[in-house]
Symmetry: C2
Subunit: 205 residues, 2 copies
Amino acid sequence: MAGQIPDIVVLRLPLYVRALEHLAREKVELVSSQELGGHVQLTAAQIRKDLSYFGKFGKQGKGYGVAHLLLGLRRILGLDREWPMVLIGVGRLGRAILGYEGFAAQGFKIVAAFDTDPKKTGKKAGSLVVRPFDEIESYTRERRISIGIIAVPAKEAQYVVDRLVKAGVRAILNYAPIAARVPKKVKQREIDPVAELESMTYYLK
Amino acid sequence: MAGQIPDIVVLRLPLYVRALEHLAREKVELVSSQELGGHVQLTAAQIRKDLSYFGKFGKQGKGYGVAHLLLGLRRILGLDREWPMVLIGVGRLGRAILGYEGFAAQGFKIVAAFDTDPKKTGKKAGSLVVRPFDEIESYTRERRISIGIIAVPAKEAQYVVDRLVKAGVRAILNYAPIAARVPKKVKQREIDPVAELESMTYYLK
DNA sequence: GCCTGTGAATGATTTCACAGCA
DNA sequence: TGCTGTGAAATCATTCACAGGC
């Protein structure tokens, strides 16, 4: 029960949501911090502490009501609504992202795709018509879109990020292998499978 | 200069490698911790401290030799060799992973693809013939493969992970949205774009 | 003078341990 | 009794600040 919540705690909440969704599908109604910890590979104490930042969700002697906690966490994370997103970059990677079904199930939806390449704009990618990148500001501002997905080559990423930030986007999911500079108020997460592999090979000896 | 290196430090090394590769391409020969920090969004002190775990790479008064540090880090991470990998799951996601060009540039290569679905096995996916999942142990053991990529649905992921571990795999890149249980000696990293999005929406209010 | 390498200091995160409630 | 919620303690990570080499 506090004012300022550590980022690292927020980062873990989606894991709890996933595990709770799984438990809910299995018709489990109550779960202890111990059991939940088993699902997400964390200690019971850490889970209790994390949740305590947001209030009291548990029942002493019983555990946490799965449905109740799930609802609470989803609300805290803002998952009780739809999030429209824009995608920039409609190459091979961008197309794969457009085809990924995992977003929709959690309320995330790519509503427009942009590219700088005039050979691509005006044509279809998935169910969307690719728009010229220069329309990005007007499009996102008009529709108040706050999330952008970047699927352009590394060397274009910083430029695209800057334009997105100017366009009012406040959260960026970056598939380019580079940590772009963003103002503090803008959140950025990187998806970089190669970096993940590289940090594992260290241990393979 | 220490014995046991914190995981979190190892996790940052690939970022340094990326930035140094960029600098090398730009023909930069020397870089200070300050400048490098600008590229990876970290403080100069942190970079110096991180590097100091592995030895003395810098020249006082000058900075770090880009080529020298890059070579050193690549060796430390085991990137001075090729890493064959197996892929499990040849659905939509698995095919996208097979088509991803980013692995090869860093010496990672998917050498075999497996699936449990008999409708898929024996047919081509990219340039590989899909193998029956039951061949996984014999294949990976014979070729001493230590890295596996998982692209199966969440509910199959734990089973696949268990089989991979039995087959001697020691590093797993997991695209299934679930933290599978692995023995301590096995490293696992998850690629979960939806979880990344969910931890950003918290701040979008 | 400039910049590294590194102990010491600070700050953040995790774990402990237990009071208190159902 | 069983399990939460939470201060206090312990651990871990980052930043500071400066001695020392080029």
